[in-house]
């Protein structure tokens, strides 16, 4: 698991975002995480807790918005929830499936005081 290195990336992004913004404390990080991401939210929250000690983001809460894996069939156009990672259209069985959501791993916004 590489949640420590991700927490460090996250810290860098937060520092950059609050730079010059007159922020005394970051209270919440809103993270969007797709079903296809290998990151484990609890591990990341723990790693971030360690990583943020003594910074403006110390004690900040990590809020995870989970995105389901949604695909769109390249043949019949049907949009569907991809179950059990089977990338086949449930209607026409086409394997040409484009991923519409589920790959995200993004810091969407931060709440600060």
């Amino acid at each position: 698991m590489h949640e420590l290195s991700i927490a460090s990336n996250l810290m860098d992004i937060v520092k950059q975002a609050v730079d010059g913004q007159n922020v005394s404390r970051v209270t919440t990080l809103r993270i969007v995480i797709g079903e296809l991401s290998t990151v484990v939210p609890d591990c990341l929250a723990f790693a971030f807790e360690i990583m943020s000690k003594g910074t403006v983001a110390e004690g900040a809460h990590l809020d995870f918005e989970k995105k389901p894996l949604i695909g769109k069939c390249g043949d019949c156009g049907r949009e569907f929830r991809i179950q059990d990672f089977v990338f086949h259209c449930p209607d026409c069985d086409s394997p040409r499936v484009e991923i519409l959501s589920g790959k995200e791993f993004m810091l969407k916004s931060i709440e600060c005081e």
Partner: protein
């Protein structure tokens, strides 16, 4: 107060990977990132490729390992350019490690570069290094349920090498079911069954690589 950020958390890595990719492109070197569990046979598979292709192409290998340099020593014996990266406990190679390694490595003179990632099916899947393609190495004793358990790497790979085919008679392993599961996750995945001990599939593996190298050369 809310500050909108909308930044991909792995963006820093992706940006460096893109720079690596540019360097590889400029030198016309085809790069493969080999990912698989510890002991799946990543080093053995690279050795097979080197034996088959070293007369025709200039090959180099970057070995990612947590602590030792054993794999690099094995590869160096075959007389190709080899470089060791120790991740010091890290569970994957990242683009920055490759970028640093490239400063002292004559990749410019190569046709083909293998990067053996740290033995792990999960973490390396998320980290682009600047490679042309990821190759996932699975071995028969690991069992045929891997695509369902580790879908991300199967989704992101271009080729699955199913290694240790010589052990199929001794393991409860359904080759066809495994292939089907892998193709469900990634319909574009190429699949080659191989055995580094009997030589089965070695020809096909070499042909797959040759095709990729030729495609690159014709692109110029």
């Amino acid at each position: 107060m809310e500050i909108k950020v909308l930044t991909d958390i792995l963006e820093a890595n992706d940006a460096i990977a893109e720079q690596n990719r540019k360097k590889f492109d400029e030198s016309n070197v085809v790069v493969f990132n080999l990912i698989g569990s510890p002991g799946a046979g990543k080093t053995s598979i690279i050795e097979v490729a080197i034996r088959k292709l070293k007369k025709k192409y200039r090959i180099g290998v970057i070995e990612g390992d947590i602590e030792t340099s054993r794999d690099a020593e094995r590869i160096a014996k075959l007389g190709v350019e080899t470089l060791q990266i120790n991740t010091q406990g890290g569970c994957h190679l990242d683009a920055n490690m490759i970028a640093s390694a490239l400063t002292g490595f004559p990749y410019q003179s190569l046709d083909l570069l293998f990067i053996e990632n740290v033995g792990n099916l999960v973490c390396p899947a998320d980290y682009a290094l600047g490679e042309d393609a990821k190759i996932v190495v699975i071995s028969v004793p690991e069992g045929h349920d891997k695509p369902a358990k580790y879908p991300v790497i199967f989704r992101n790979a271009s080729l699955m090498l199913l290694n240790k085919m010589d052990l199929v008679p001794y393991c409860d392993f359904d080759v066809e079911a495994m292939k089907q599961d892998a193709l469900n996750v990634n319909p574009d995945l190429d699949v080659i069954g191989i055995s580094c001990t009997t030589g089965e599939g070695a020809e096909e593996w070499a042909a797959w690589l040759t095709e990729r190298i030729k495609r690159r050369k014709s692109r110029g």
